[in-house]
Symmetry: C2
Subunit: 530 residues, 2 copies
């Protein structure tokens, strides 16, 4: 009885111990991580010092500036210059379009109650943004010449908290009694996946490891088995590694990041081409149900079962029904870009086609051509052409570039035109902005998004936000018609009048939002445009 | 008269010429660009050959594998192993949680009418995806030892079609009668911003440039003025540059990309803390207007003027009114993640707080604490804790990792737990997934998005999609209450019964969508989880 009693007591004690262990121990590394700001570590400072030494030599040797090249280099700050003094020939504007300059800083600050406050606020927000986006993999590193060290300068990547073999490490020096290399990291540890005879490994499993051997070839063989394990978790950063001998130092980065998780769309059997499984049409409507109905009727002549997503911010929404129609009701006057962002957020197909609610599909509106170019190239978005009742067809191609400025902000430059014609697609070009009739990869368009603050008008803002994310093209042979804008005043319908009144009456509040977003959100100083 | 006549004719001819020039000349580079697939150029092939040579030496020297390290290396493929054979003590599950394994490939393909077809289709889509995401800046490059060449290995960036000086170029060899270096690129041209006496420059303005001089110091001074101009437009790529002497070759990349255009939010005067300018609350509602009303009432006790965005896909939507409430009506049963994506797409403030429609705010629901940690750290999203009526409080912290697999797909591993405690925030940790009560940076949450195909349930899918994009944290001291789920069957309201019937009845179609998205969209092979 006593034995059983003791066993029970023992079991109870063990269970109690287990339970208290459970409460005390949480599953996770108990180490702490400081994510308050990106401190430059010891290795980073060493690296910066070395670069300074490397590039400050030969200062005594003279040179002659080559203006035609030097003038293309970015300066410390950027400027926006209009070209008011261009000789203006009659009919010359299409040939030599005039460049306008807009001072964004002035336009926004002059009407602001607290200009110095908002300047400071913007600088603060930008500072936090820079700290968050800082990645050691972007820092300048220069490879020393005549270094005995061989090492990978690019392409080394480890998933967070995982282990890899570091490829390409080596040492080339004159044979001697002893050969030693040192490896140091900040966010991870080193070890060896295999050992080689006559090589001593000191600090395996730590942030600083020393390998040495009297035999150079053995040390080199050992260097082929050096591993790096990331120990300080971060979803997307890089560890700067110092690889050195007693005399020489080299630096390289190991990127610490997850692999890209793909977003692949299952569009059904590739042999059975099904446009409805590939594309969703999206539009925003306000005060123009008649035009919207005409649009839908015209679409259905050619695409009877493609899903149409409609974002609607009318005050008194009407039902918009029909098969494959998804109608979303928004609060009254939420606006243009809010509606675009809503519509696009609901798309589940691989591609989304943006159409305005006053477009009309015709036999020339071959969406399949747009799908074709996105399937076959690296483009993420391709615009088409919009044909007015007069026959005038617009593709609205623009190029956009941003010049780095100083504290005042960057300079935005917008020009009509494009970059290149696309090989294999003679009617198509690469540009940065296109007309408001385009097919885009849904996941990429969703990633850029449409700024929901822009209520009444906006177009290029999307493409400015898309810079660097979207590869943009434009094909002039996929044409949609624009419901006629040539309406004599006495023939305008009530809905036309209501729409015009709403859309085209300028609102200073609306303009203020645009100015604010250029100044604050995009941190711009000024812009030039055609 | 004749002179005037001639002048007029002359003017007409000039105008005619100008007009025809206009039609013939379109503003843009007339060159073509091939964006159909990423061909590996000559330089890339040279680089690959060199790496092969570099790493295939010393093969004759033996080694002994270190299992404890080697076992952590990724294999050619990945596996998902359950731990069914763990000794299961009573009460041991929290301490030694069982790991389950799910074969995603099997689950999806076994019920598919055309398994080999969909496998092929997935491989095809993945291939296109890889081609589009390929960037020469990710390719492995190894710096040769004892090379006379000095060059930048990281950090060189040029904006598309712009010009930069390449930093850090140099040559260190024994002085001789002649010193020559060669520079070759594919997507741009070289030149010099300044010339140095006694250095000959051949090929300035072209893709291949040769610099030579009898004076080594002069050549090195000249190398400080070498420029690179990107000429083949691409919004985000890299040019691999070959920098060589007659005997030695080195490779480095120049990234070609726009700078990051920031998305900064103007949250008003930082001195006047205004939670309404900083945060928008977002929720999705279905069949639970009573609970939604309770949520709103509880919010308003503490946050009278924060905007609440509500996505509503009820069949017969009721009005939800009140100041600072934005109510969006969706097509009936569009679903959970579609509603989340919609709500988040409408947010214009810096942060968005996700709440479920059956939460209740209390004095412990201090959103300011969540704002504080996002303001002060590099976190993009921070979860709180949800308290059940029983007092049980959940943070639902999980870690997620993806192991690279082969053709069959990757392996997803989900575990309860976290990575580190956050310095300065003792109740907060870094994790990969958290509970459905979180504050996030609006732009980052919008970039990840909520997959609108997931209609009835879904949670971790968002965090899987967020891997690598969001830095996720969790604080246990910001608590929201969960409206009691402990309802005796006879006290359930009609809306409770309707909701349960809808939410919890399993739909094979719904499960099929989840399986399909794991298999196809995320290209997974299997997963393990607690």
């Amino acid at each position: 009885m006593r034995a059983t009693y003791k066993k029970c007591l023992g079991l109870l004690l063990i269970s109690g111990l287990l339970l208290s262990l459970f409460y005390a121990w949480s599953p996770g590394t108990s180490s702490r991580v400081d994510i308050r700001s990106r401190q430059r570590g010891r290795i980073q400072k060493l690296l910066q010092g070395k670069i300074q030494d490397t590039i400050s030599v030969y200062q005594d040797i003279g040179y002659h500036i080559k203006d035609d090249v030097a003038s293309h280099l970015a300066q410390n700050t950027c400027v926006c210059r209009a070209n008011e003094d261009t000789f203006q020939l009659p009919f010359s504007n299409p040939l030599f379009p005039r460049v306008w300059a807009h001072d964004i800083v002035l336009a926004f600050l002059e009407s602001h109650p607290d200009p110095s406050g908002v300047k400071r606020h913007r600088a603060q927000e930008y500072g936090s943004f820079q700290k968050r986006s800082y990645n050691p993999a972007d820092v300048l590193i220069v490879a020393e010449a005549i270094s005995p060290l061989q090492y990978p300068t690019q392409g080394v990547k480890v998933r967070p908290l995982k282990t890899i073999i570091i490829p390409g490490l080596g040492l080339k020096e004159e044979t001697g009694p002893n050969h030693t290399v040192y490896l140091t990291a900040s966010l991870g540890t080193f070890d060896v996946a295999a050992t080689v005879d006559r090589v001593s490994v000191e600090g395996g499993g730590e942030k600083h490891m020393i390998l040495s051997s009297p035999l150079l070839s053995a040390l080199n063989r050992q260097l082929q088995f050096v591993t790096y394990t990331n120990t300080v978790f971060h979803p997307k950063t890089a560890d700067t590694v110092l690889f050195a001998t007693d005399v020489h130092q080299s630096f390289f980065t190991i990127k610490v990041e997850h692999g890209i998780i793909p977003k692949l769309y299952n569009t059904g059997n590739p042999k059975e081409y099904n446009i409805s499984a590939l594309v969703t049409f999206a539009t925003k409507t306000f005060l123009r149900y008649d035009k919207l109905k005409d649009l839908i009727d015209s679409i259905r002549q050619y695409y009877p079962s493609v899903t149409i997503v409609i974002a609607d911010d009318n005050e008194h929404p009407q039902a918009v029904t029909g098969p494959h129609i998804d109608h979303y009701i928004m609060p009254f006057r939420k606006g243009w870009f809010a509606g675009r962002n809503l519509a696009v957020s609901q798309v589940t197909t691989k591609y989304v086609l943006w159409v305005d609610d006053d477009f009309l599909f015709t036999a020339n509106t071959k969406v399949e051509r747009m799908v074709d170019i996105l399937e076959k190239t690296t483009l993420d978005l391709v615009g088409g052409a919009v044909r007015e009742a007069t026959g005038y067809t617009a593709t609205y191609r623009h190029t956009i570039s941003v010049e780095e400025g100083g504290e005042e902000g960057d300079c935005l430059h917008i020009r009509t035109g494009y970059h290149h014609v696309i090989e294999g697609f003679p009617n198509c070009v690469v540009a940065d902005a296109v007309i408001n009739f385009f097919l885009g990869r849904t996941d990429k368009v969703q990633q850029v998004g449409f700024n929901p603050r822009l209520a009444r008008h906006g177009h290029l803002e999307f493409f400015i936000d898309a810079l660097g994310s979207l590869h943009v093209g434009s094909c002039s042979d996929v044409i949609v018609n624009h419901a006629s804008k040539i309406i004599l005043p006495w023939t305008k319908t009530d809905s036309d009048k209501a729409y015009d009144k709403f859309r085209y009456s300028s609102s200073s509040a609306e303009n203020d939002i645009h100015k604010e977003d250029f100044y604050f959100k995009n941190r711009l100083k000024c812009m030039t445009s055609h």
